[in-house]
Amino acid sequence: MLRLENVTKTFGTHTVLKEITTNFNDQETTVLVGPSGSGKSTLLRSLNLLERPESGFYDCDGIELDFAKKITKKETLAVRQKTEMVFQDYNLFPHLTVLKNIMEGPVHVLKEDKTSAKKRALELLNKVGLKDKADAYPNQLSGGQAQRVAIARSLAMKPRYILLDEPTSALDPELELEVLKVLLELAKEKQSLVIVTHNLEFARHVADKILFIEDGKIFFAGKKDEFFNSTNARIQEFIHAMTLDNLSNEN
């Protein structure tokens, strides 16, 4: 389980996370929703220590950190082996082939031998439907393909949790679908996922738990159905606005 307690993060004078306390369960998909700028990315990135909150506690599946104290390199690396990050703009390594992108972490971080890392990389590529792209370079892929490679790259590290920050926001609808299918598949396999998304329909499909974040605070945390059936005015307004947004995007 990932657990945050009273986590606060400030950029300059702007407090972006305000005493956040929550947890992310094993083998569940937690979806983070909320307006732009509410702190979703910051929260997600804190789980991977790409952002460093200035206070609060973080229990990363047994690794206990106090953000107010110095976090050692060793602890940082340990957290990053438990959690993998998938970014909105993929961030594949452009100078490496698709296969090498996936093997990079297992070979150079986990020190696996090349043959077995390659075998597993090919299996993962097969899983995301891109076996024939092993020798392509990232620039030769469509956005949907690139994001699926990024997901395969994160899976290669055998993380307990995969953290995805708006993984399909940069994609056209039909490419988005390819990626969402892969994620649904992972969720079905009980891979622990934390996903930031604006796509409420996808959230409705994939989520076990929803966190609704507003202005750096958790406004709602609970089961998916409780969220979508909520009678709370603010939640209803948000769901409504997101659905209208989707409609106007399609025009």
Binding site: N48, L50, K73, L77, R80, Q81, E84, M85, F87, D89, N91, L92, F93, P94, H95, E104, G105, H108, V109, L110, A136, Y137, N139, Q140, R153, S154, M157
Partner: protein
């Protein structure tokens, strides 16, 4: 006229092979190593006493970029013999001309190239650092496996220009008594009173050398940018 050119060629070419090319190649290789070290130190995030080292390297880059190359050569070759340090160099620092040349050209190249490399490293998107760190790479691993290979491609054209510039700048070595190509052309011109022919001949030799290097540069650019081409 052509027989003057032909008869001077062996001497000129041999000076090129003995001095011009070695000066350029050795200085560039040493300069690149120095440039990479300088760039890495200048972008490093370490604090504390390390800041002094950072400041020293910043001073070095500033110094060599803000003084003329020929003055640097004069200071090292003609000036240092007068630098008397008790115990270390009681009779001043006297260097062989070739050594002095290598030192100055390397330091000069290192200063300029370090800025090129630093800019190239800084041009690699932040997302590349984050992706590498997210899979658990250390800063050093990220630098050497992810950032520098991409930065190398970015810095290839400006570094090639520096190298071509250096080949031409080695002609300044004639001022510190190195008998490289330009010096030889001056000596022959003093004997045969054909300065126009001699200096044009040596100019042509530099031009040929630099043209070959430009071809090598295009070829390198082609193979290092292969991965950027979208598939057709």
């Amino acid at each position: 006229m052509w027989h003057i050119v032909w008869s001077s060629l062996p001497e000129l070419i041999s000076a090129g092979i003995k001095y011009t090319i070695p000066l350029a190649v050795i200085s560039f290789a040493l300069g690149l190593v120095l440039a990479l070290i300088t760039a890495l130190i200048r972008i490093s995030q370490t604090k504390g006493p390390f800041l002094i080292i950072k400041a020293i390297f910043r001073f070095y880059v500033w110094l060599f970029r803000s003084t003329p190359l020929i003055v640097q050569l004069f200071i090292v070759y003609f000036g240092l013999p007068y630098l008397i340090i008790k115990g270390v160099a009681p009779d001043g620092i006297k260097l062989e001309p070739f050594t002095a040349g290598i030192i100055v050209f390397s330091l000069n190249t290192g200063a300029y190239a370090s800025e090129t490399i630093r800019a190239a490293i800084e041009s690699i998107p932040k997302g590349q650092w984050e992706a590498a760190q997210a899979i658990g790479m250390t800063r050093t691993q990220t630098l050497f496996r992810i950032i520098i290979p991409q930065a190398a491609r970015v810095s290839l054209p400006p570094l090639s220009n520096s190298f071509i510039g250096l080949v031409k700048d080695t002609s300044l070595a004639s001022t510190i008594t190195i008998v490289e190509m330009f010096e030889v052309s001056q000596q022959i011109a003093a004997e045969n009173y054909q300065p126009l022919v001699m200096y044009c001949t040596v100019a042509a030799l530099y031009a040929i050398l630099c043209t070959i290097l430009s071809f090598v540069q295009s070829w390198l650019e082609k193979i290092t940018t292969r991965y950027l081409k979208p598939q057709v």
